[in-house]
Symmetry: C2
Subunit: 430 residues, 2 copies
């Protein structure tokens, strides 16, 4: 039986029914003092009192230790997922709702997975109020694949298109588009180190452009569009990369021709990319478009032209369901605003000890970059925070400093803990 310490390797050689988390063995936990799971790095220990101990006390103590096991993860993505979603996924990983199999084992053409992808789409439509005139696609390859797919689907090789570049991701999108059409950067924040969003009225859009492209939230630089420009061109099509603020607040989808987003910031694990595209834009892909980059193929096949990333879609579905239960994106935005304000207020109230370079009106609610006036303390800041279980606070290698990514699933408690830490750190080092 699994009452002894197991390495990941030796586990496979045991009978499956002796696995500690196998539900068939749950009862046997009562007689154990302590179980170590897979102590590859740091053991996860489960302490179970004898069955005669008071249930209430035991549970309270265990809840406490369970919470302490988790870190606050400020990574820019992949990032936190809601704990309830993770626990639900864990409970049904081995046998999804009596189907006799894991979601990872299901035929993508079977009725079980069909119910999963249809509910995911339907819940996403409810969250973002997506009209039926838009197709919702669950694809692969991340936003980087969309950097090519957008021009391949929306224009010919000679067509002009406009890009607003407010950070590294918008710049990458522009550069990739150069292979497939004739893009122009009509505004760039590069000279000001990507800390601003342009005044929309002053933009010089090309009237012949086939679309106007923006990156709605720049993950690395922490710059976020709070309003959206109108595409003043021959098609009126606005395209947005929303990878890092997708489903973090309500969005009027009808303002856009195409919205695309990697899931791994706010709505799921990495490996699935969501594309929301107005249906009248389908069917015009360039001749040399790889099948898998042609929106029409995926629309016609309800994202099942080939095998989709089933488990990633399932996880997104659990997150969508969870966001709806929280009250939808209005509520989600309120929580995100509160977390962001807490953090920016500490930075701005630090008398210059902490600095955020981004213009106040366009600061991201998702990614908060900041530096220390005494830059030689930054490494210590990151290290000390990690000791207190706040991880991944180092800024992107291209900009340095720190960055706290506080997506939907970052609990308020995580930001409160960070803010308290920042004040302590300042008091110690000011």
């Amino acid at each position: 039986m699994a009452t002894t310490t197991s390495s990941p390797h030796s586990l496979f050689l045991q009978n499956r029914n002796s696995h500690p988390l196998n539900k068939n063995n749950l009862a046997s936990f009562t007689n154990l003092k302590k179980i170590n799971f897979f102590n590859t790095k740091r053991a996860i220990s489960v302490t179970c009192s004898a069955a005669s101990a008071p249930t209430q006390d035991r549970t309270a103590a265990q809840i406490q230790s369970g919470q302490e096991d988790r870190v606050f993860n400020f990574a820019a993505g992949p990032a936190n997922l809601p704990e309830k979603v993770l626990l639900k996924a864990q409970s049904e990983l081995y046998n999804w709702r009596g189907s006799g199999m894991s979601v990872m084992e299901m035929s993508h053409r079977g009725k079980e997975f069909k119910s999963i992808i249809e509910k995911a789409e339907s819940d996403l439509r409810a969250l973002l109020n997506i009209p039926q005139e838009y197709s919702v696609l669950f694809l692969q390859g991340g936003a980087t694949t969309q950097f090519a797919a957008v021009p391949l689907n929306l224009c010919t090789p000679n067509d002009p298109v406009d890009y607003i570049v407010t950070g590294s991701w918008g710049d990458k999108a522009f550069k990739e588009a150069q292979k497939f059409c004739n893009p122009q950067v009509i505004w760039s924040g590069k000279a000001e180190k990507y800390t601003k969003i342009p005044n929309f009225d002053a933009l010089e859009q090309n009237p012949d452009a086939k679309y106007l492209h923006i990156c709605a939230n720049e993950t690395i630089h922490g710059v976020e569009f709070k309003e959206y420009p109108s595409a003043k061109n021959s098609t009126g099509i606005l395209v947005a990369d929303m990878s890092s603020n997708f489903c973090s607040k309500p969005v009027d989808v009808t303002r856009f021709g195409v919205i695309y987003a990697g899931a791994q910031k706010n709505v799921g694990p990495s490996g699935v990319t969501i594309v929301i595209v107005r249906k009248d834009l389908l069917g015009n892909a360039q001749d040399k478009t790889p099948l898998m980059l042609d929106y029409k193929i995926h629309d016609e096949n309800n994202s099942l032209y080939n095998t989709p990333p089933c488990y990633c879609i399932y996880m997104c579905g659990l997150v969508f369901e969870y966001l709806l239960e929280l009250g939808g994106l209005n509520e989600v935005e309120k929580m995100n605003r509160k977390k962001a304000e807490l953090l920016y207020n500490v930075i701005d109230g630090s008398n210059g000890f902490y600095k955020c370079p981004v213009e106040k009106s366009v600061r991201s609610f998702m990614n908060v970059p900041f530096t220390l006036e005494k830059s030689d303390l930054e490494a210590e800041f990151v290290k000390e925070a990690a000791k207190e279980k706040m991880v991944q606070l180092k800024g992107h290698r291209s900009v340095g400093g720190m960055r706290a990514s506080i997506y939907n699933a970052m609990p308020l408690a995580g930001v409160e803990k960070l803010v308290a830490f920042m004040k302590d750190f300042q008091a110690k080092h000011a």
Copy 2:
């Protein structure tokens, strides 16, 4: 507390610590008679006797019921995963080995995920004995994306290339290549309904071709290359789509320029595609190649140019580890051969009640298509099998009949059960 029946929706409104599978609450199972998890479709019930019942008896009964919960899944992919892999994944889903986070939440640039992807690659190299002159890439988009990536990386738009078409997938690969080069079908099994592999000596290969392409196992038609042809052209490059027999047997990688495979048959969940490419072939992608289809970009960045499908890679890593522990691909091949022979023997010994159309010498060990002489009984066959928890036996919509996919993770017991069912079914209906 989670002692009452919960719908998937209401679960999210409970405190996370009251989740039935939360390790902190395991002890409380002892006082429960029965718990229903998420009874959306069919309840998964866990029966726990009172704490005073004999532990040994209870566990044995539960083991039995746990095994009965699972079905034998004969789907063509996504398909079975090893039960031990699923249970391990389940146990560490919420908190990976003391890291304080799920694998789904990890930064792809953090040390934890780096250790996961490096071990996955290293174990795959050990399994297939992949030389250092080959790059191993973990990509997205399935084999269908590779149908475009192969010509985009290996030739110019005017280059001739050769395709052997032994089934639907080879045909799809050929058709997609037409966008990016000048492919010729040098042999097609279509006229004989894709039941054969050609005689290699009789092939008329184009000496100017830049590569020769095969599909090593045709999932739909059940035709498998048992030997591989040599590319008798200017480059000597053989390319193989091994999606549906990858890691099912040893392969001499040095025979190939490129091997590619979707993971979802033998080595993981859908959402990750493995490409093994000889390094001297990198760096020649066509100008208009989308970044994400350029092998060189991924090789230079160790599959981390953008965010990879982290959880899918982690799952593949668990499977690779498991296959190594089974004894490697020689052992895996033995098991697969045994299962396949069992099934083909029953078909061939049925006096024509069951028929497999594929030429005996090239029958797939992975996908076993068969028909009934009395074809009007096929629907009943599928239905009755499902009642006995053998699911997804219906043949592909393009060929009809039945298909039993018996990948690595299909236990021998599953094939034995199917074979017994087939004999019974024949006895009843012959």
